[in-house]
């Protein structure tokens, strides 16, 4: 088993300041495309730059796109977000279609999601809606009317019948049986 998660960034899922409450603000502030002009692994990104980059920049005027050629290094996408987070993707040997999709992903997130280990799958600022627990929470309403000390409530709890009680039941059963025996001859006589 790997212990990679021990060194991973961890935290709760939190939205950046004011996101989704006021107006829409694209959280991606700038993206740098680093690539090589003649290496084979940059083929996809070169065709992306040729065909799709202008459209991408036109559709997202709020994102500053930098293109940075460098010799014989793998192509890379580096995104910087408004909350100061960065996301880095190596796109060596990626096709043009893949890169379009990764660029879309970088635009729609606000941090590198998979890089954060979630401590819990939910988070709330109000952990309890009904307030802190007290001895009076979920109290049975009839208990409000009772005047203490109360004999019925104050009784010791009984889980088993006592020896006396068992004797009494045995005696009662015996008497019932005797009554039954007495009744049968009478019934016989009637019929």
């Amino acid at each position: 088993m790997s212990n990679k998660h021990l060194f991973q960034k961890f935290g709760f899922l939190r939205a950046p300041f004011g996101i989704g409450v006021g107006r829409y603000v694209c959280q991606l502030q700038r993206i740098t495309i680093k690539f090589c002009k003649n290496h084979g692994c940059s083929l996809g990104i070169r065709s992306f730059l040729e065909h799709d980059l202008i459209d991408y920049a036109k559709q997202n005027p709020g994102v500053v796109v930098y293109v940075k050629p460098r010799r014989h290094r793998s192509p890379v996408l580096k995104a910087e977000y408004l909350n100061g987070e960065t996301s880095w993707i190596c796109i060596a040997n990626f096709s043009r279609q893949d890169i379009i999709q990764w660029m879309e992903l970088l635009k729609t997130q606000y941090h590198d999601g998979p890089a954060l280990r979630l401590l819990k799958l939910w988070h709330t600022d109000f952990p309890s809606i009904q307030g802190p627990w007290t001895p009076f929470t979920f109290k049975n309403p009839p208990l409000n009317q009772i005047k203490f000390p109360d004999k019925k409530i104050g009784e010791a709890l009984k889980f088993k019948p006592t020896a006396t009680e068992e004797l009494i039941t045995l005696f009662e059963e015996q008497q019932e049986a005797e009554k039954f025996d007495q009744k049968i001859p009478v019934q016989k006589g009637v019929s």
Binding site: R23, V64, K68, L82, K139
Partner: protein, 313 residues
């Protein structure tokens, strides 16, 4: 015999090409990396690199993107001025002097004026907005919420979350909280100059007042003498005085004692609260009722962030 033939065949098939990809074990890599890491560890903590010093940096595009990202219509010149702090100009002039220029000159203006003006306007907008969305809250409470929003930390958070951190022109690095806060109010000032106050109020609402969205408002402001205040409020509204009554108690004279106190006005139940002592429970009950009256309670309707404000009128 067959075995020997096979052996000879395979020996003949070995060509020079087969050794083309052979690489020896690079035994210097690991010691070099280890030495580099050791030296890095010995160095004092390095300062964060300045984004605007990178090769891939275009200030004009950044300014343009800032404007469109927030869907605002800042005047570009005024926006540039709002980002320029006095310390930057002083530092640049000093640099020129050191280079040997006799009459150092820099043809850009700083944002002192915008900061002053913006702070006043922001404060006014915040007060008006809070007065409108929490109409029953007394002046003290409004001022407490206002001070919370106008605090340096809150302004700096709002400022850094709209992406000013890298664009600010100042002599200090990394940018301090104070500078970030000043930049936010300077932006409001610049927006007022670019368009008008009403438009600036929408900016303040969308980027600063939204900070109250997920906060417990009673944590920001809580009356110091809640029972007396509640008495005054009920007296003013219904001409009645309130009385506190003990509803329940448990664990008296122990460290786990709990008291449940309800507050009534003319035998009508207003609310209740819990506490470790009777006095504490009484105050908690009064705070609960006041928070419900003022709309600060977590069960009250949440604050609205879509109201248009008419500041100029």
């Amino acid at each position: 015999m067959n075995g020997l033939q096979l052996y000879l065949q395979s020996l003949l098939n070995i060509k020079h090409v087969n050794y083309g990809g052979y690489r020896y074990i690079k035994r210097w890599v690991s010691p070099t990396q280890k030495e580099i890491t050791r030296r890095k560890r010995r160095l004092p903590p390095q300062s964060e690199s300045k984004r605007s010093n990178f090769i891939d940096w275009n200030r004009n595009s950044e300014i343009y993107a800032f404007n469109t990202r927030l869907s605002e219509k800042f005047d570009t010149e005024k926006l540039n001025q709002a980002f320029t702090h006095k310390s930057y100009i002083v530092a640049e002039l000093k640099k020129q002097q050191e280079m040997g220029i006799e009459e150092p000159k820099l043809d850009i203006s700083h944002n002192e004026e915008y900061i002053e003006k913006g702070r006043e306007i922001t404060s006014e907008i915040v007060k008006k907005y809070l007065n409108r969305s929490l109409p029953r809250l007394p002046e003290v409470g409004i001022m407490a919420l206002h001070d919370y929003l106008m605090s340096e930390q809150m302004l700096a958070t709002a400022s850094s979350h709209i992406g000013t951190k890298d664009i600010i022109l100042t002599s200090e690095h990394p940018v301090s909280q104070q500078t970030l806060a000043q930049t936010f109010v300077a932006l409001v000032g610049a927006l007022v100059e670019s368009i008008n106050v009403d438009h600036a109020s929408a900016f303040v609402r969308d980027f600063l007042i939204v900070g109250l969205a997920n906060k417990d408002l009673t944590e920001i402001w809580c009356p110091t003498k809640p029972f007396e205040l509640l008495n005054d409020v009920i007296d003013a509204e219904r001409k009645m005085s309130i009385e506190a009554r003990l509803i329940g108690q448990a664990g008296k004279n122990t460290i786990l004692s709990v008291y449940h106190v309800g507050i009534y006005a003319n035998k009508e139940y207003l609310g209740s609260g819990f506490g470790e002592t009777i006095a504490e429970a009484k105050d908690v009950a009064a705070i609960n009722i006041l928070a419900q009256i003022y709309g600060l309670h977590h069960t009250s309707q949440p604050l609205r962030f879509n109201e248009e404000l008419n500041v100029s009128a």
